[in-house]
């Protein structure tokens, strides 16, 4: 029933806020094809939206003449998402992703924001900035979502924990 070999969907969107929605819908279609459950698909949609928003805002200075490239690779066992931006803002992607200090924000001791990468990390199995393997100048952000929950995530629990338990009927 599953297709043999991987399937690749490539997407090039203008670096303009709002266009991340195209990646959001595209990944939903691919994830549905991989039989991910509906809640896991919502997780993946949110993760890709945040990553594309960052690529637009920080990776290309929201200059609509720039492009963000999204590569979705659907394998039997996982969905691989690569997001490339031109990296023109000079902003270096952060090495770690901190837990957002909402108390600090509410008490106006911290700047509002800094939640995107944290949310991404909570929703997908792997998330990291990688070294481009060619001469690309820009940043590459990679996310992986496995179709079969790993042992670690397999611990019995109820409720939607975002751990992928409800995902897939693998």
């Amino acid at each position: 029933m599953r297709p043999q070999g991987s399937r690749v969907v490539e997407l090039k969107i203008p670096s303009e806020l709002g266009y991340e929605k195209i990646a959001r819908e595209a990944v939903a279609t691919v994830a549905r094809r991989l039989n991910f459950g509906e809640e896991k698909i919502e997780d993946i949609k949110t993760a890709i939206s945040e990553a594309c928003t960052n690529a637009i805002r920080y990776g290309s200075g929201a200059d609509a003449r720039m492009k963000v490239v999204v590569v979705l690779t659907a394998d039997d066992d996982k969905l691989d998402i690569l997001i490339k931006d031109p990296g023109v803002s000079g902003a270096a992607p952060p090495g770690e992703m901190n837990i957002p200090d909402i108390k600090g924000m509410v008490e106006e001791k911290k700047r509002l924001g800094g939640m995107g990468l944290y949310i991404i990390r909570m929703l997908v199995d792997e998330a990291e900035f990688i070294e481009p393997n060619d001469d690309d100048e820009g940043n590459q952000f990679r996310m992986v979502i496995y179709r079969i929950p790993s042992d670690e995530e397999n611990k019995p629990e109820t409720g939607d924990s975002g751990s992928g338990k409800k995902g897939g009927t693998a």
């Binding site: 919502e42 928003t53 106006e108 924001g113 939640m115 949310i119």
Partner: protein, 121 residues
């Protein structure tokens, strides 16, 4: 962008003021949400319900706007309630800790009942 947010306000019989949000809750929603909140605040609203439309697109920039509202609401000793969120976004709101400052209810009716049953401020 498209799916521009539509914000409307209604008061529910002295119990609460509802801010209905229909459309994308992203950075483009900032002005509309803040204006609505400032408006109901200066009208003296104490219990404020943000009523989302299930399955609308909310991102972290949208959540940041809501944290800004929480900041103001604390100063004014208002009570914030949020309704209509999908299971997915309830999870996200919990994840970032927003639920420490605003109670989530499935529907506006549920929120009103909770307020009437003395959980209100």
């Amino acid at each position: 962008m498209s799916d521009e947010i539509q914000v409307s306000i209604r008061t529910l019989g002295g119990v609460a003021t509802v801010i209905d949000l229909v459309g994308d809750v992203t950075t483009f929603a900032e002005e509309a949400i803040n204006q609505a909140y400032q408006g109901v605040s200066s009208d003296g609203a104490v219990n404020i319900i943000f009523n989302f439309r299930e399955n609308d697109y909310i991102n972290s920039a949208g959540i940041a706007i809501l944290i800004g509202v929480v900041t103001e609401a604390r100063k004014r000793e208002q009570k914030l309630l949020m309704t209509g969120l999908s299971a997915h976004f309830q999870k996200i709101f919990r994840m970032v800790g927003l639920t420490q400052y605003a109670d989530l209810y499935p529907s506006v009716d549920d929120a009103i009942n909770a307020l009437k049953n003395g959980k209100g401020s």
